[in-house]
């Protein structure tokens, strides 16, 4: 048996807990029956499964590795002979085994005819698996940036996992019978959510496996990330029908619309990758030495993950512009505005990535990433609202990528901002990489 799964079995399901959970669940169902009769059982069953596997399960999954780090048992595991795959499924299913045990009892209730529909049950199970996998993946990503506060990081991983999964779970309740337009197809929201969850669950488990490879010091190339970026571009491109009506009105539809949707998807992924990328200057120094010794092979590993997403976004942006040049007559809004818009988005991205690095590498930065989130909220939400309030809507392109407007307003201001940010980040990088020569105090 997988040693990690076995350990969780010993820890999580001792005999007294095996008995107590069904007893508690029985009381819950009894109370529901007394309070609302048989009709409320489907709701209570679904709610209980949701609470167990999505709320509690994500907590346990997020704590699976972070807890080991805090208890100083993680290095023992890193030095063991367990493979990344052993660790992936051992941690994912082992840490949450008790919640699935509870969910199993709910399924028994379902089988006895007191639950809801089989579709809803499957949807919840899939959502639970996806949420738990996301929580574990996010906790591993947060750990790569250093452990600051266990409770805070576990909560952050749990919160993000629940927030990401929630739309899939609630979509059907909010809009029963809704359809999702994807690549011109009208797909039932239930089916689309289920299929999307299955695909993203596979990607999430793959990401956990990759992160475990890194943690266990196996060679880990960046190519799976490149493939994921391509997948996200493809997935996002299918949502071209959801692009704002203003774009369609401007003549951006068909292939151009899909490419633009893919472009936006990869830009969002670039931002996400920037946040989770470790920014330790010493790591980069080691990679630089490796790259010098190993040449191009080392250089691929040297490249930060966000750069791949950004690279794909640049290519997609270029293709959008070329496509519009070839497919639309001169003088149309799309042909005039889209190239400037694409360039502006890329420049805003460069500026923001630089700003994130500037804030994280600040010598007194304790919560650099949190500061970066505040910065993004300020520049993209607070400042535009203030500008609009002051009646200066015409200046909004300085703060937001704008579709339409002259070069000197849409591109030049953000170009200046990006150049300044790049200069500052290079200075900050040099300062952060400098080692104080003597009187070191280490942990």
């Amino acid at each position: 048996m997988n040693p990690e799964f076995q350990r969780y079995q010993w820890l999580e399901v001792p005999s007294h807990r095996l008995l107590s959970l069904p007893a508690v669940l029985l009381l819950v169902f009894l109370a529901a029956w007394l309070g609302g009769g048989r009709d409320v059982f489907p709701v209570v069953t679904e709610l209980t499964i949701g609470l167990l596997v999505i709320i509690w399960g994500t907590r346990l999954a997020a704590d699976a590795v972070l807890g080991e780090v805090v208890n100083r048992t993680w290095d023992n595991q890193r030095m063991s002979a367990m493979t990344p795959w052993d660790m992936t499924w051992g941690k994912l299913l082992g840490s949450t085994i008790y919640t699935w045990y509870g969910a199993g009892w709910c399924v028994v209730g379902f089988a006895l005819g007191v639950g809801g529909s089989l579709t809803d049950l499957l949807r919840l199970v899939m959502a639970g698996l996806e949420a738990q996998a996301l929580a574990l993946m996010i906790s591993l990503l947060l750990m790569r940036r250093g452990l600051h506060s266990l409770r805070g990081q576990v909560t952050a991983a749990q919160f993000l996992a629940v927030v990401i999964v929630l739309p899939y779970v609630t979509l059907v309740q909010i809009a029963p019978g809704a359809v999702v337009p994807w690549y011109g197809l009208e797909i039932s929201a239930t089916v689309f959510a289920f299929m999307s969850q299955m695909v993203f669950l596979a990607w999430t488990v793959g990401a956990i496996y990759w992160l475990m490879r890194v943690e266990l010091q196996y060679p880990a190339t960046q190519w799976p990330w490149v493939v994921f970026v391509a997948f996200v571009a493809f997935y996002a491109a299918g949502f071209d029908a959801l692009l704002p009506a203003v774009l369609a009105g401007a003549g951006i539809k068909g292939m151009a619309g899909r490419l633009l949707a893919a472009f936006c998807g990869t830009i969002l992924l670039t931002y996400a990758a920037t946040f989770v990328e470790p920014k330790d200057p010493q790591r980069l120094k080691f990679l630089v030495n490796t790259a010098r010794a190993e040449g191009m092979v080392g250089l691929v590993d040297l490249t930060p993950t966000w750069a791949f997403g950004f690279g794909v976004a640049v290519v997609l942006g270029l293709v959008v512009v070329v496509d519009l040049m070839l497919s639309t007559p001169p003088g149309t809004t799309a042909r005039a505005a889209v190239p400037l818009f694409v360039v502006a988005v890329l420049l805003f991205t460069v500026r923001d990535i630089s700003m994130i690095y500037i804030l994280v590498l600040h010598e007194r930065a304790r919560r650099g990433h949190s500061a970066a989130v505040v910065y993004l909220i300020l520049v993209y939400f607070v400042a535009p609202v203030a500008l609009s309030g002051a009646g200066q809507e015409a200046l909004l392109p300085i703060l937001w990528p704008n579709l339409g407007g002259p070069l000197e307003l849409v591109v030049i201001p953000v170009l200046i901002q990006a150049v300044i940010a790049l200069v500052v980040v290079s200075q900050r990088w040099r300062a952060a990489s400098t080692i104080q020569p003597e009187h070191a105090t280490m942990p």
Partner: protein
């Protein structure tokens, strides 16, 4: 067994190890000493393949630790300064999990657990929960966990920290015993007197540099430090006798004239002859014995030297 060349390790704003080079032979027990922040823990973690240095190379049992850390983990056991154990498991479950995690076959797990527990004196504790053990026993269990896969090198970071005197004595005996089994051991500690009990070598780190790496006892062929004690003072004749012997140097006689310390290059037969000559010369010799150079003395000298 362990060869390190030009190892440099940086924390974000501090250099922890500065071009460290060392060689440690198989079957030795090396005491690793140095002030807080000298880089002891970092060096041990680098040797264990848990940290990646900026530059340098580490070979353990001819395995390149930096290039193939996974391979090196099979040869190395690490006990960290903080004991990481699962309190809710029993000792048997803890060791069984550690053994299985190190890839030991299912059929052999039980025997390996019992064997390791026997080596560490834990057999009668196997069914107790880890959370109920004393700190000394937890330390033993953690060492058992670190060596369940029979590593060739054992790295112990401050194993005596927080232990009571009885537990420290027991730990010293245990480490001495492990030394006789041929394991190569590196032990970091602040308590030099304890290291003296069981180490064969001393390594001193300061500001990320090795300032001393030497055997704790003088190797064959090198002068030994001897101490002679007389029942009655005889400073003049004692100095005269010692000075006339060509194998004697660095003579230091106390003010009373009853105790002398000197470096002696002769073998034990010559030492016996020297003793006989002293007795025949009428000196009231009460004792003649080798005086190991205390680690504390070596440490203090090196620390002073490093500060200069």
């Amino acid at each position: 067994m362990i060869v390190v060349r030009n190892l440099t390790f940086d924390y974000p704003t501090k250099r922890a190890l500065r071009s460290v080079s060392l060689e440690i032979h198989a079957g030795t027990i090396t005491g690793l000493a140095g002030p807080n922040g000298a880089g002891k823990t970092t060096l041990l973690r680098c040797l264990a393949g848990l940290e990646t240095p900026v530059t340098g190379s580490i070979l353990i049992d001819r395995v390149n630790v930096i290039a193939t850390p996974r391979l090196s983990h099979r040869r190395v056991g690490l006990l960290q300064d903080y004991i990481g154990l699962y309190n809710e498991l029993t000792c048997r479950q803890t060791l069984r999990h550690a053994a299985a995690a190190h890839g030991i076959a299912e059929g052999e797990l039980g025997r390996r657990v019992t064997d390791t527990a026997a080596r560490l004196g834990l057999v009668d504790r196997l069914d107790e929960k880890v959370g109920t053990l004393s700190r000394g026993l937890r330390q033993r269990l953690a060492i058992a966990q670190a060596m369940i896969h029979r590593p060739r090198v054992l790295l112990l970071d401050e194993p005596a920290a927080g232990l009571d005197p009885d537990a420290r004595t027991a730990l010293s005996e245990l480490l001495r015993h492990l030394g006789t089994e041929g394991l190569t051991v590196i032990v970091s500690s602040h308590i030099l007197a304890e290291l003296e009990d069981y180490t064969s070598h001393l390594m001193i780190l300061r500001n990320g540099r090795i300032v001393e790496h030497c055997p704790t006892r003088a190797p064959a062929g090198r002068p030994r430090r001897l101490k002679i004690m007389l029942a009655q003072p005889a400073s003049g004749s004692l100095r005269g006798m010692l000075s006339s012997d060509p194998t004697v140097s660095a003579v230091d006689i106390d003010g009373v004239g009853t105790t002398a310390r000197f470096d002696y290059a002769g073998d034990v037969a010559a030492q016996s002859q020297l003793l006989r000559s002293m007795v025949q010369a009428g000196l009231a010799v009460a004792s003649l014995q080798e005086e190991p150079r205390s680690m504390q003395v070596v440490y203090s000298e090196k620390m002073r030297g490093a500060k200069r």
